[in-house]
């Protein structure tokens, strides 16, 4: 789980082009959207692609993403439970 969290932080920074953000800046429970990292709706869609590409998880409704992408913690949990690769 810890490994997944670290991996996610690195991936998010690279996939979403978060220049000037380091993995250690992102706390496991920080909100990713809104005030937190300031991600927007396109970033959410990009995370959906990442789930598919890297973990074999397909989300069909963008609304499902809301709870999953709340924080690194919730993402890591969801991925650990649902990954197919």
């Amino acid at each position: 789980m810890e490994a997944v969290k670290q991996e996610l932080k690195e991936k998010i920074i690279s996939v979403l082009n978060l220049e000037d953000v380091n993995p250690e800046d992102i706390k496991d429970t920080d909100p990713l959207f809104g005030a937190g990292l300031g991600l927007d709706s396109i970033d959410a869609l990009e995370l959906i692609v990442m789930l598919d590409k890297d973990y074999g998880i397909k989300l069909l409704d963008p609304k499902e993403g809301k709870a999953i992408f709340e924080s690194i913690e919730t993402m890591a949990k969801y991925i650990s439970e649902n990954r197919t690769k």
Binding site: L16, N17, L18, E19, D20, G38, I42, D43, L45, E46, V49, D52, K53
Partner: protein, 206 residues
């Protein structure tokens, strides 16, 4: 028609990793480095803080840098400014179109990126500038074979003389496969260089 005079108050060119503002070179990088690194170096050099910059495609970054230099003292976050945008180029959003096309071209590696797709329209760069500078004014994007000062100056004069905008930011902004050029100039109706086809051609050496 053009009963109002119009003037170019400032202008900016970016090409070959060199930025010129009002005729002076204000920043340059080694011609050998790629545009992404050049753009990042320029961003750092001017001390900007706008993390969204790094999410933009090359066309938007190019437009953003030029607009930032010309509009920095013109706009504020608090109030809207009435500056119309009249942009043009030849390659439309081709550079990003190709990136997106490659992501859907084969079944084996089919992961189209929404963040890439949103930039597959040339006018997205005007949207980025409008967001950054809080501009809700008129904007239009034209596709031409080459930089067309005659068309742009006519269109700009119509916008100013019919009071559709207080100022007009005109641009040729073209980017394809590391070859790029930005010609930006800001037109007002009070002071500056006389705004006409000849002046534009002289300033941008076309």
């Amino acid at each position: 028609m053009a009963d109002k005079n119009s003037f170019i108050q400032s202008w900016c060119t970016i090409q070959n990793n060199k930025i010129n503002l009002n005729g002076e070179t204000i920043f340059e990088s080694e011609p050998t480095i790629g545009f992404a690194d050049f753009a990042k170096a320029a961003y750092r050099n001017f001390g900007w803080s706008y993390p969204k910059f790094f999410k933009m495609d090359s066309l938007s970054k190019l437009a953003f840098i030029a607009a930032e230099l010309l509009l920095k003292d013109e706009t504020t976050n608090e109030t809207e400014t009435d500056i119309a945008l009249v942009f043009s180029n030849k390659s439309s959003s081709m550079d990003t179109d190709v990136t997106f096309q490659e992501s859907i071209a084969t079944k084996e590696n089919y992961y189209p990126s929404p963040a890439v797709f949103v930039y597959t329209l040339p006018n997205i760069c005007m949207g980025e500038i409008s967001i950054r500078h809080n501009l809700k004014s008129e904007n239009s994007f034209f596709i031409f074979e080459k930089f067309n000062p005659g068309f742009l100056s006519n269109y700009t004069d119509v916008l100013l003389s019919t009071n559709r905008a207080e100022k007009v930011l005109c641009a040729w902004v073209d980017f394809y496969k590391e070859t790029y050029r930005a010609n930006f100039y800001l037109v007002n109706s009070t002071e500056g260089l006389e705004h006409n086809e000849t002046t534009i051609k002289t300033l941008f050496n076309t």
